[in-house]
């Protein structure tokens, strides 16, 4: 098999950070090549170089043996290289079809846009990846997961010889992931070379033919993922053995912290695609980690938003009790003051000010506690920030550095740390480990365990079933904005959750064991 | 423009048609170029005050905010409203000519104030003569203030405005008689007090010896005075303005209080306009095609008296 892509001695520096160093990377035709590594290892950087997004780098690239040097993404696309970017890069105001064909619109004979043909072809593409989206819908109305599917369809539509997928599944649930794998296998069989980046270890063994591990911008090892256990892969990535991914909770739970009774939200101005709570009841005890499972659009995010008081306006019925007292969430400030913290799903859009410092981002929720009379005591905030960074094992240079220069997982920790500094009783977490590497995940899980042991309650929405089963004491399954089942993780597995989430049992065997 | 029109006496044929005598009720539309200029605001005020004494009149006002296009629309709206007489103080001559003609051709008598439109499609023009005013100011400076000669700085109005050009042109003529009077510098103060002040700051700096400041209007003269006062040089030089509005913030008061040596009236003609309207509509008479009101020199000797005359109620 000829080498489709050969990258040699690739180097890339960002200020003091060596994102890639002397990296040699080879991709064959018809190969699915997984690229693994911790957050900030340099995976995205390497692939951005290949896809023409980054144009200044050291080293050389050859496609089919021909040396190339791209001057931009269009260049790379012309050479048959397409990339699904980690951050969803879509235009909210344009329709699904317009987004898919952006930059290479189909034309009629008089050079006008052939909208009908674009819509037809978009529908075919979406169907191929198993998504029944209306191609005329504006992308801004779609859920994160749906947007991710659109970017996948868009990349596939390029008919590329090399397809780079940078965390394509981070917002997808298992059924969509399965469908994507079908597509990947199909592409592989037709000779496309695929680079697959993911932090979901269970996916690697399923789909990849080969895996390469990057650490601190350098290649550490390359292997056949089917021949190694997950633990071994993880060790290669992190550089040390990681004992147990999941700290089994002691289930030493205390009093009831949160009680939600038949919560319903009737939005004043309903938005298409939103699934507001339509009768949800659940409880969280102090010291308990309760998971929220569900398919794409089951209403997990919306439930957490409603509890945090940031759902769009409407009529809310049912009751929310915190430590037995009814509360009416009206907004983050008020809810935070009552001891409920929230870590949103999309850290870049709703979590961080990317160009502000790590310090500023960490302390913003707890400012009143440093100094008095509205004057900040700099030493105090610095101490608090350093303490939190240590506790979360944040990997950073200086507190003054822009948060945007941290790797995704470390950015996530900053959002996390910010909430911990408010000393909450209850944490609402929405996909807290999306895009976070295994090592950091393990730390976050360990931290959750610690917090729970100290009496904190956690409500954790996640699309990763292993995470829910591994971390939570109990999992509540949502479907169509209602709670449909509740499991104790001590005596149920991922299959039970999935079956409940889908509302029937057919899928049980298919996704049963991972 | 100040192109001299043939002074053609008689009333236009359209004018008489609208006369309904003392029993009529008349709506008069006043189209003002820009009330942000104190002079023009005073014109409106004068018209308002004069119209109070004519019970048959109901005067409406429109402000074009210094935009020719807006003023065209204002006049058109008056035509739509079928007003009985139009008073217009045009922002600029040429752009307003055709719409004024349109009104005139529809049989609406038109009194043009301050700035003439082109052609003769209007009933009467009442205005001052900016060239003449500039000339008077020049003469006054050359003969009264600097008979032995001296240095003059000129603070001009907004570049591009007709009165600015005319007040400059007349002034140059006016000082010709005394070759020892030198204009050593000129700056554009855009008619504004603060602009006059900041321009004067620099002029003072650059010119150690200034004897007279000739300003194209009173506000800039006042600004210049303030600038000189700030560096303690206000006694070294004299200031003259133009407009002499009889309002508390106007030039007459400034002369009375000794900040300006002199100013020259630029009559608003509000009173005269209403008198002319009365003649046309109520008395069914005719008016002069062109009525140019002379300027008056205001100095310390007559300032208080004239202020009182112009503001009979106090």
């Amino acid at each position: 098999m000829a080498d489709l892509v050969r990258m040699a001695a690739i180097g890339k520096r960002y200020g003091g950070v060596q994102a890639c160093h002397e990296v040699d990377f080879v991709l064959g035709a018809g190969e699915v090549h997984a690229l693994l590594g911790e957050n900030g290892a340099g995976k995205s950087t390497l692939m951005k170089i290949l896809s023409g997004d980054i144009t200044e780098y050291a080293g050389s690239i050859a496609i089919n043996g021909t040396p190339v040097r791209f001057s931009g993404p269009t260049d790379a696309q012309a050479a048959g290289i397409a990339m699904i970017h980690q951050e969803l890069d879509l235009v909210p105001g344009l329709s699904v079809a317009d987004n898919i064909f952006l930059g290479r619109e189909l034309r009629t004979t008089v050079r006008t846009v052939d909208r009908r043909r674009m819509e037809r072809e978009a529908r075919e593409l979406l169907d191929r990846s198993g998504v029944g989206l209306d191609p005329r819908r504006p992308v801004g109305e779609l859920r994160v997961g749906e947007q991710q599917l659109v970017t996948i369809a868009k990349a596939i539509s390029l008919d590329a010889r090399v397809l780079i997928m940078d965390e394509p599944t981070s917002a997808l649930t298992s059924s969509e992931v399965e469908r994507l794998f079908d597509v990947i296998r199909e592409l592989r069989n037709s000779g496309v070379g695929i680079v697959y980046i993911s932090h979901r270890m269970e996916e690697i063994a399923k789909v990849a033919d080969r895996a390469t591990v990057l650490r601190n911008g350098k290649i550490v090892t390359s292997f056949d993922p089917r021949k190694l256990s997950t633990a071994e892969v993880v060790e290669a990535m992190v550089g040390r053995p990681v004992q147990t991914m999941f700290t089994t909770p002691d289930s030493d739970t205390g009093d009831e912290l949160l009680r939600v009774e038949n919560l319903k939200l009737k939005a004043r101005r309903p938005r298409p695609g939103r699934r507001d709570p339509d009768g949800i009841s659940l409880t969280v005890r102090s010291g308990e980690i309760v998971g929220l499972a569900g398919l794409l659009g089951a209403g997990r995010t919306e439930l957490l938003e409603t509890l945090y008081g940031v759902a769009p306006g409407g009529i809310r019925t049912g009751r929310i009790l915190l430590q037995g007292r009814p509360i009416r969430p009206r907004g983050p400030r008020q809810v935070l003051a009552q001891g409920i913290g929230f870590v949103p799903e999309d850290r870049r859009a709703s979590g961080l000010v990317l160009f502000h410092s790590i310090l500023a981002n960490t302390v913003v929720s707890s400012l009143p506690s440093y100094g008095r009379l509205g004057v900040i005591a700099r030493r105090m905030e610095r101490t608090a920030s350093v303490r939190m960074a240590d506790r979360l094992r944040l990997k950073f240079g200086r507190l003054q550095d822009e948060v945007g220069t941290l790797s995704g997982g470390n950015q996530q920790k900053v959002v996390f740390g910010r909430m911990l500094l408010t000393e909450p009783k209850l944490l609402l977490l929405d996909e807290p480990t999306r895009g976070v590497d295994v090592g950091a995940k393990a730390e976050i899980y360990r931290l959750l365990g610690e917090l729970a042991a100290q009496g904190l309650g956690v409500l954790l929405a996640s699309s990763e079933l292993p995470e829910l089963v591994g971390v939570c004491d109990r999992v509540v399954v949502l479907r169509d904005g209602r709670d449909v089942a509740s499991f104790s993780t001590a005596d149920s597995g991922e299959g039970d959750l999935l079956a409940a989430a889908m509302g029937h049992g057919e899928m049980f065997d298919e996704v049963g064991g991972v | 423009g100040t192109t001299n029109e043939r002074a053609s006496g008689g009333a236009s044929p359209g004018a008489s048609k609208s006369c309904k005598g003392t029993d009529g009720k008349y709506t008069i539309g006043m189209s003002q170029a820009n009330v942000a200029e104190p002079y023009r605001q005073r014109m409106d005020d004068d018209i308002k005050a004069a119209a109070k004494d004519v019970p048959q009149f109901d005067v409406k006002f429109a402000d074009a905010a210094q935009d020719n296009a807006k003023q065209v629309a204002d006049v058109e709206n008056y035509i739509t409203q079928q007003i009985d007489l139009l008073i217009i103080s045009p922002n600029e001559a040429k752009p307003l000519t055709s719409v004024v003609k349109k009104a005139y051709d529809k049989g609406i008598p038109v009194i043009v104030l301050d700035r003439k439109v082109e052609g003769d499609a209007y009933t009467g023009f009442i205005g001052g003569d900016n060239v003449q005013i500039g000339r008077e100011a020049g003469k006054y400076i050359a003969e009264k203030l600097l008979p032995q000669g001296g240095n003059v700085v000129e603070l001009k109005g907004l570049a591009g405005a007709t009165p600015q050009a005319e007040r400059h042109e007349g002034f140059v003529e006016g000082i010709k008689g005394n070759p020892k009077v030198k204009v050593i510098a000129a700056a554009s103060g855009d008619w504004l007090r603060e602009k006059g002040q900041s321009q004067m700051d620099a002029l003072l700096k650059a010119n150690p010896k200034i004897d007279v400041v000739y300003s194209h209007n009173d506000p800039m003269a006042e600004g210049a005075y303030l600038a000189a006062k700030a560096v303690g040089r206000e006694k070294e030089m004299k200031f003259t303005g133009i407009d002499a509005l009889p309002i508390p913030s106007g030039g007459i008061k400034a002369v009375e209080q000794g900040r300006l040596s002199a100013t020259f009236t630029y009559p608003t003609n509000g009173k005269e306009a209403i008198a002319a309207a009365k003649k046309i509509l109520v008395d069914c008479g005719t008016i002069e095609k062109t009525q140019t009101l002379p300027t008056r020199l205001i100095d310390a000797s007559n300032a208080a008296k004239i202020y009182a005359e112009e503001n009979p109620t106090g």
């Binding site: 993404p73 105001g93 619109e105 209306d134 | 409406k60 709206n77 739509t80």
Partner: protein, 338 residues
């Protein structure tokens, strides 16, 4: 692959409300129109507002702002702003007058040169913002001053009157036609020019690939770049179009007023922006339409007209217009997707 027909998202439900909101500025226009009829003064039983003559006046009065606003819509759609349009209008008005009257140029060469000046001026601003990366607010704020300065210098500081005829120092009579009325003396040519510009823009935005690129640049510039959209070229083109339309408006201005003055068009940029925003285009870029802008411009025109017909005091007019702008913008907030 499994068949997933059941997951097709239905769009029907959003239809009625969404359609209403989509054409909200049109409805706003209708509402204002009805209000105008109600509040219109009457003379001899006739409603003054709806007289053909008055309606023609209303549209003629907004035609310049309207033409500018169409270009401004493009700029705002890519997330920029153009403060220079009023000054470019003045420059173009001066240019047409000087070329035809003082330089005795013919109709066509004058118009072409003036349009080219606007185009190049806009394109240069586009270069400064797209290639150097200066925010368009600043580029065009500077551009405003530069265009105004150029207009003053070119005209010698004075308005240049346009007289028509074949002699020297006279503009060709063909130019005067642009200011006339047609269709039985009812429809002013400027209105027709505005209509043509607006319709062309609407069609253009609907069928061209360029328009997709334009929305993409305004909606998510990075995504546009990664998709191979020529972002820099799009930006330069959009500013060039805006400059071109501003100078077209300047020509219309000059012919309507028989003069080109360097002070023409002062403050027009704010009126144009107001029309665009009232028309539902987001200042953040990526969302909006030319149809809305046209409705917005007409709405402002009707408002001006009805206030004037009722002889509302000019100071009170300022207050009312301010409040109407805020109210119209507040209405925009009611649309379902923010």
């Amino acid at each position: 692959m499994t068949d997933v027909q059941d997951k097709v998202v239905t769009t029907d439900k959003m239809s009625v409300a969404a359609t209403l909101f989509r054409f909200q500025s049109v409805f706003g226009l209708i509402a204002v129109f009805v209000a105008a009829i109600i509040f219109s003064p009457r003379k001899n039983g006739a409603i003054l507002f709806v007289s053909a003559d008055n309606l023609a006046n209303v549209v003629r009065a907004v035609s310049e702002i309207g033409i500018i606003a169409v270009g401004m819509t493009f700029v705002i759609l890519i997330g920029g702003i153009d403060l220079s349009v009023g000054a470019v209008l003045g420059l173009a008005a001066v240019g047409s007058a000087v070329l035809m009257v003082e330089n005795d140029w013919g109709f066509l060469p004058s118009v072409v040169l003036v349009l080219a000046i606007g185009l190049v001026f806009g394109a240069l601003q586009g270069v400064a913002t797209a290639m150097i990366g200066i925010q368009s607010f600043i580029v065009t704020l500077a551009g405003l001053q530069i265009a105004r300065g150029l207009a003053r210098i070119w005209s010698g500081g004075q308005g240049v009157a346009i007289a028509y005829g074949d002699g020297p120092k006279e503009a060709p009579t063909s130019f005067a036609l642009l200011g006339e009325r047609t269709f039985g003396g009812l429809v002013p040519i400027p209105v027709i020019i505005f209509a043509v510009v607006a319709i062309a823009a609407v069609v253009f935005l609907r069928v061209s690939a360029f328009s997709r690129h334009l929305y993409a640049v305004g909606g998510n510039e990075k995504a546009a770049r990664l998709s191979g959209v020529p972002v820099v070229r799009v930006k330069i083109a959009v500013f060039a179009i805006c400059g071109l339309l501003a100078s077209l408006a300047g020509i219309v201005h000059a012919v309507q007023l028989n003069q080109g003055s360097p002070n023409d068009g002062i403050g027009y940029e704010l009126d144009a922006i107001a029309a665009v925003v009232i028309g539902g285009t987001s200042l953040a870029g990526g969302r909006g339409s030319v149809a809305g802008t046209v409705a917005g411009a007409l709405l402002l025109g009707v408002l001006n007209n009805i206030l004037a017909l009722n002889n509302i005091d000019s100071n009170i007019q300022l207050l009312i217009k301010g409040l109407v702008i805020v109210a119209a913008a507040a209405l925009q907030r009611l649309r379902p997707t923010s």
